[in-house]
Amino acid sequence: MNGIWKLVLLGAVMAILLLFALGLKNDPRDIPSPLVNRPASDFSAPALDGNQTVSLSAQRGKWVLVNFWGSWCVSCVVEHPYLIELAAKTNNRPDFVIIGVDFRDTPDAAQAFLKRHGNPGYTHAQDPDQKIAIDWGVYGAPESYLVDPNGTIRMKHTGPLFPGWFEQRALPLMQGNAK
């Protein structure tokens, strides 16, 4: 009888340690978004350059990468070269478009950022009081959402997009949808 209880106790302690070890490996910033597989909420905001309006619904029928950033964001500097590369690579794809949402920022600071780190060329929506960002459940920058042609959010990526993200993460979803 005693032996059984010792085993039970040992098992319980091991289980707690295992859960603890698994928990340590989790990225505390990577909180699963409840918005994945939900319809993306539309936005319509003044563009960073010029006086047009940027709206998500205007891109219905395409896959849209919505990238939340700000000139104040350090990790966005790390991410920026890949965004330039991705924009150049996907420029002639008819089914894919990138929209930047520049939140909690001023147009001047954002323009200066693009001047210093290079301009990927796609349009950016201005979101000075982060209404769009909060509406999209954004915690910080950079955060990216992939929206499918029907306007449903299919994926959220917290932190900088890494080189190869498009091929590894986006393309499988896009091809899966085409079938």
Partner: protein, 164 residues
């Protein structure tokens, strides 16, 4: 020194008078209490365990502004809480809700207490059973067993050796 002390008292009196003259009754906007009530239970997503109401971060300030706008627009409290819950998930509430998997979280301590109590009751019952059984055995057994003849003679032999 004396001068400053003499000066201090009237100065303090004056300050108190000025203070009370300016202390009008501040009437809070009635909607503000609702804003506070909602914001106090929403987690500031970028802070360490602070509510949106207490935090000074930009995100919390903008969230507070959105709550104010929604309250001003006449939205009800559950609808506003739901707005943030839909976007940020369970994490946004400082106090976990009692629904879904969280019900397990809330009930686990009481479940544990119940199980522990049951185990204790079982153990106590067994100990008491053992104690009464031992007592019964003790009363039935002869008070002191008398050694048989062989043992008696051996003990006497040993005693004799010790004496020699």
């Amino acid at each position: 020194m004396i001068f400053s002390r003499q000066l201090l008292r009237p100065l303090l009196m004056m300050l108190m008078l000025i203070g009370s003259a300016h202390a009008e009754v501040r009437r809070e906007d009635p909607t503000e209490s609702m804003v506070r009530q909602i914001a106090k239970d929403l987690r500031c997503a970028v802070c360490q365990n602070q509510s949106v109401y207490e935090s000074n971060s930009e995100l919390a300030k903008d969230m507070l502004k959105i709550i104010r706008d929604k309250v001003a627009a006449g939205e009800k409290e559950p609808a506003i809480r739901d707005y943030f819950h839909q976007r940020y998930g369970d994490y946004i509430y400082l106090e976990p809700t009692g629904q879904g998997m969280n019900a397990l979280l809330w009930s686990a301590p009481f479940l544990g207490l119940g199980l522990g109590g049951y185990a204790l009751w079982l153990a106590l019952r067994r100990w008491r059973g053992q104690a009464t059984k031992e007592a019964a055995d003790a009363s039935q057994a002869p008070p002191s067993p008398t050694p048989d003849a062989a043992m008696q003679s051996r003990i006497e032999q040993e005693l004799k050796q010790v004496e020699m």
